[in-house]
Amino acid sequence: MPDKRYTRREFLRNASLTALGGLAIPLFSSCTKEEAEDFLQKHFREMTPEEKRQVIAKLEERYAQRYGRKFQISTQEAVPDTLWAYGLELSRCVGCRRCVYACVKENNHSRHDPQLQWIRVLRLKRGNLINLEDSEHYYNPDLVPEKGFIYLPVQCQQCQDPPCVKVCPVHATWQEPDGIVVVDYNWCIGCRYCIAACPYKGRVFNWAEPNIPREEINPSVHYLGNRPRMKCAVEKCTFCVQRVRQGRYPACVEACPTGTRKFGNLLDPNSEMRYIIDRKRVFRLKEDLGTEPKFYYFFEA
């Protein structure tokens, strides 16, 4: 009578197969194939060019279905010898919020429930610039500028030593070679540590699926920038990465009616930013924290 007992080797093999199957069942039974694919998608920086192409194709199809438009999703890398910086002249800002809504439109923000905006315009009493805790960003007068107030628009300051990147437990956010801090929305787990770490309130969270009207969608997007996000992803200003890597000014710069907003390459001695830093009185927000922002506020001097 042959021995029916398992050998040690057979037992181990069957046990490990069962375990693998057990792990796979929840993944493939509780979600669709598409969701499973998303779950298994690699980190953006670890993808090969071929894998990037596949992901882009998948996204393009999905966006076309959802928004009824053909999307161009770019994965353009940083331009060599660039380090982007931003300038904002406080003596000119009138607090009209044109930049906020230009940004919303360009970067495909959720319009309501949740309403997400990357720029907040703070209103401060004149002569009280240092006390940010006394600022107000729900101000709503008939006309701006108001007497006795100044306006301080704040968005991601693109720190050179960004605290938000340090705290991310899964490396879903990082600094690109051109200085822009970006998020891989698919890799983000939604823990919001980065939101807590940012001293500028530069990041916002998708508490629900974003609401973007079909007719207002901007189909020209960057994978790490303004492509439509999903629930549970953190997002932030990217200096309009989709525009600046092609040499175009960010949307907020073009929208400003008073020419308050400036943009340029810190490594180019002829850039607007170098002109400002050389000739104007500049300061950076919360400089003492050592985050080295690349966002320079300046005055007429």
Binding site: G95, V100, Y138, V144, Q246, G247, R248, K280
Partner: protein, 167 residues
């Protein structure tokens, strides 16, 4: 042989183009957006060519009644900037006539620091491409400041963000 001739001709043409554009850029030239004119008024000579020049400072009652001069008005009158003989041109202090597309030169005669900043793209606004082959557009002083009353007027702000709901 034919190819060589072609290359030479092409080369000459190309260098010609280069020189031409170089000569253009030799001064200070800025690609500007079309100047903000009231529709239907330009060219001014349509009316002014047949009119007599009246240099007295006065309140305009028939035409241009919408213009309220509030720009050092005690010292200034239309013909300080608009040329009396050729109304389609502006007039610099030294008598040179310039087009409306170059009006920044006229503004820069008094507002030097702003003019310098504007040339560097700091005062005012540039749109389009800041690098690469794409087009960059400068906004003229007059796009933001009405030359006749240059002070900025207050504007209506866009709506504030919604407050988080209390729950």
């Amino acid at each position: 042989m034919k190819k060589a001739v072609k290359t030479i001709v092409f080369g000459m043409l190309f260098s010609g183009v280069c020189f031409a554009s170089f000569a253009n850029g030799a001064g200070e030239e800025f690609p500007v957006a079309p100047p903000p004119m009231t529709e239907g008024l330009f060219p001014c000579s349509n009316c002014h060519a047949t009119m007599e020049v009246n240099r007295t400072k006065r309140v305009l009652k028939e035409e241009h009644t919408d213009i309220k001069l509030h720009h050092a008005e005690t010292m200034r009158w239309c013909l300080d900037c608009h040329d009396a003989k050729n109304r389609d041109k502006l007039r610099l202090y030294n008598g040179d006539l310039i087009n409306f597309t170059e009006s920044y030169r006229l503004c820069g005669e008094c507002h030097g620091p702003q003019y310098n900043d504007w040339k560097a793209g700091i005062h005012g606004k540039r749109t389009g491409y800041f690098m690469g082959p794409g087009k960059r557009t400068y906004h003229l002083c007059a796009h933001c400041h009405d030359p006749h009353q240059p002070k900025f007027k207050p504007i209506k702000p866009e709506p504030p963000p919604t407050k988080p709901k209390d729950s």
